[in-house]
Amino acid sequence: MADDRKYKFSWELLGDIATGRPNLGNKTNLEVYRLLLFTFRDVLESHVGTEMTDRIFYEAGNLSGKEFYANKLTPTNDLGEFVRELQQVLKDMGIGILRLEQADVEAGEFVLTVSEDLDCSGLPELDHEVCVYDEGFIAALLESFSGMKFKVKEIDCWCTGDRTCRFSAKAVKAEP
């Protein structure tokens, strides 16, 4: 099955940007990113429906978060170190400004906020949260950090009239 696939993500496949873009470098306009994201969203939705599209985005975000953790962050067991480095990298890469509002490592419960979010800050108001990709991304980061499986839900979004995106993350306890 796997052999039939045309593409299987790996970090190397992001390419050698310095060589490939000697003049334009590692930069693009954020509109281009959103253009890609939301046209995908539109076409996917028209083909497979909203629910499946959300699932696809969540899973893609999850894969992205897993790879991001492995390639951009330093493995640690210390929440403070993890959050600090994550904050810095997210800021340096222009992804967003992360703030941790609540953290209970043992219970596996977190509330975190992303401002100036890459995906949705500044979007016109809609009546539902749109940062499904972020949900998957955050879940994967927490999973990689803690070794537990997480379910992440966006509870406030710029899109629904909030000034920041807020996510609640809960560890998924293994079924007894």
Binding site: G80, W158, D162
Partner: protein, 301 residues
Amino acid sequence: MNYTSDEPLASVDGVLKSLKTLLDARAVPAEPPGEFINIDGFLHLYESLLEVRNAILATSVGDLNYPVRKKGYIAGTVKGLQASLRHLTWQTKAIASGDFTQRVDFMGEFSEAFNAMVKQLDNSMTKLNMREQELRKMAHTDPLTGVNNRGYFMELMAAELERSRRYGHVFSVMMTDLDNFKSVNDTRGHGAGDEALRTMARIVQTSGLRVNDFWGRIGGEEFAVVLPETLIADAVAVAERIRVTLAKTPVKYENEEFFITVSIGVSQLKTGDVQATLLSRADEALYRAKRTGRNKICQET
């Protein structure tokens, strides 16, 4: 609009007043004014304002968890403020538990002050820790020779005894005492005696002790050495090396050189030993070495 009034202007006036109350008044009515709640959008606006009012009040008195359910620019701004303050709370807790790497960068002027405070704390704690280490070292060290003092040596030996008990290891102890030390002090002065002690310390230090071996100055001219996992025969060999080296090493003091010798008693841990019994057998051996001519090694009988 499902509100039909004969006096639309009067109702606009009332609506504005009741909303102004939410913004300005010290107290607000328990219920929204019933006469307007059927006006399209009134209840939503009224409740939004009320929630934002309550949220800001809660935040201003330190409750950072007031649930803001309404959407919109002002509600969102309050949530942003809550997020910042809660993150700051979390960071402060992290600092309280010793993580001085926390920095804030989203709170303007406050960030700079906060970060300066954390850096200051970090520096102070680092200095304190260094000072504590220095003090601990001082408390453990004999100032004249720089080796472990009696108290710390005894602590280390107690731990070694415990370890050997747990793992069934053996270890050996040597007691050393400089020969005729009193006469060095009497004829050449205390400075010369001190120099003799430092020479002895240097020789023990360079006699090929292993990482786990430890020793200390436990009396005036007495040093004790513990050799973990070492049988008495091997300990005697180490003692012999020390004795021979010391005997041929000149002690240099005020442009003069003189020689000094050492007598050493050696014992090995036996079942049922405590610190005192093990040390006293080494002591007995030491005094036998003294009685039978000095500058020699005796082992326990």
